[in-house]
């Protein structure tokens, strides 16, 4: 069995397929396409692991994260999208998603 995420972050493995995506545009699209419940489930699982995950990744050179580490980085970057729906927008999320689809990323993201 392949190791999806670094040791200690197994709780997030169920979220890899939906959220460990490459590039700003893909992550933004995943956020908008998800249901409220899916966003909430991901946020509730990932937010308590934010600090340990970033600490784990900070110990490695940021330019060359690979495999499980790169996946964890992408999950954290998705958290840095999804938080705004959960913490700030609340029931304004759907309207915001409709309008923000007009703002298209020119993808530069390293992960």
């Amino acid at each position: 069995m392949t190791v999806l995420l670094p040791h200690g972050f197994e709780a997030l493995e169920g979220f890899v397929d939906q959220w460990a995506l490459t590039g700003e545009a893909a992550r933004a699209a995943a956020r908008s396409a998800a249901t409220d419940e899916a966003r909430a489930r991901f946020y509730e699982a990932a937010q308590p692991l934010m600090e340990p995950a970033l600490a784990h990744l900070d110990a490695k050179p940021i330019g060359s994260l690979e495999g499980a580490d790169a996946k964890l980085m992408r999950l954290m970057l998705s958290l840095a999208n999804v938080y705004h729906s959960v913490e700030v927008l609340g029931d304004q999320e759907a309207e915001n998603a409709r309008m923000r689809s007009r703002l298209k990323f020119t993808d530069h993201a390293p992960y």
Binding site: Q47, L54, I62, L103, T106
Partner: protein
Amino acid sequence: MADADPQTAPQPGFTPVSQEELDFLGTDPIPASAYYDPDWYELERKAVFLRSWINIGHVCEVPTPGNFIHRQLEFASASLLIVKGKDGELRAFHNACTHRGTRLVREAAGHRANFRCPYHSWTFGQDGALLSAPDFEGFNTTKEQCALKQVRCEVVAGLIFVNFDPDADALRPQLGDFADEMDTVPVARATEFSEYTYELNANWKIVYDNFQENYHLRFIHPRSGLGGTGPDNPFGYPTRYRFFGDHRGQTIWYNPETQPRGPVQIGGFMAAATALAGKGLMDTPHGREYFGLFPTFFMLGNPLQNFSHVVYPLDAGRTRGVIRMYWVGEAENATELFARQAGLTMMRDLHAEDIDVIEDGQTGLSSGALEHIHFQTQEALCRHLYNTVIDKVRALQAEAQ
């Protein structure tokens, strides 16, 4: 935020800028047709867009000799090539071979020692000179006469501006205090950026005006407009306005009591502030300024929100926009990368909230139902933009007579 400028630090009991200070802008209603009439737009295109400095990029996109960027400017039907030469100079050219006009470059950016036209192989240097052309003896011209057509190009605070008017005044001297202030903002040292773009069904002034008044903040951004309003200043009006000729700015008021909404937002802010502080960018002296450069550029000095926003008219009722968040240096670690993404998300969500009202405003005006629109005291920057446009159109009309 860490800006400690005593002149602009938030004061309890906010006092808005008075109408008297802004009387010089006039108080009349504004003719609505300027915001939708295609004939008026055609005048603006000639009087404003073909004669003003337009931001098209940043020096970090052309770091080494031979680097180029290629930009389409619809208002001029122009394709421009901005090239860093061997001599370190940045030059802008029409992306059009001087033989029979063929585009030299199709890609958005790249690196080339020289520019060879695919059609008949005329080859141009990084300085635009025609270096070689097969069977050139058959032409009744000289290589000197066949250099690429150059467009004016100037850099301020790392930002690249072009101007189609060969006689235009240089940009920097027009900017008054803004020029030196902009040099202190992270953008002036940026090495990379994140970008998102849009196309909206609205006149360029309707789009731009939305972002130069705070009157709408509490209605359109009740949740995402973090810190923009507060009990002392319910509309989030600025603490001052400044005008330097065609250019205009405001000093943004921030609510000192602002609390981030949740643990990820808090973590993002703290990480961003730590990363900026590590680069000496947190305590910048002009972090509360909004810099509006006529006609279509603005940016905030706030190091946590150091974005630029440029609008490009497509026609009287359509506008393309480019929003960039500029970063100094690569993210040094995962936490900094996370902080950048968290800030970018917040900014894009905030900008998204304006889209409906911009396009719905256009729909209302384009119907012709209104003869006039109205600007209040605290929409002074919108009024100044309109006044400046009128001045430019009148000047062009006077020259034509």
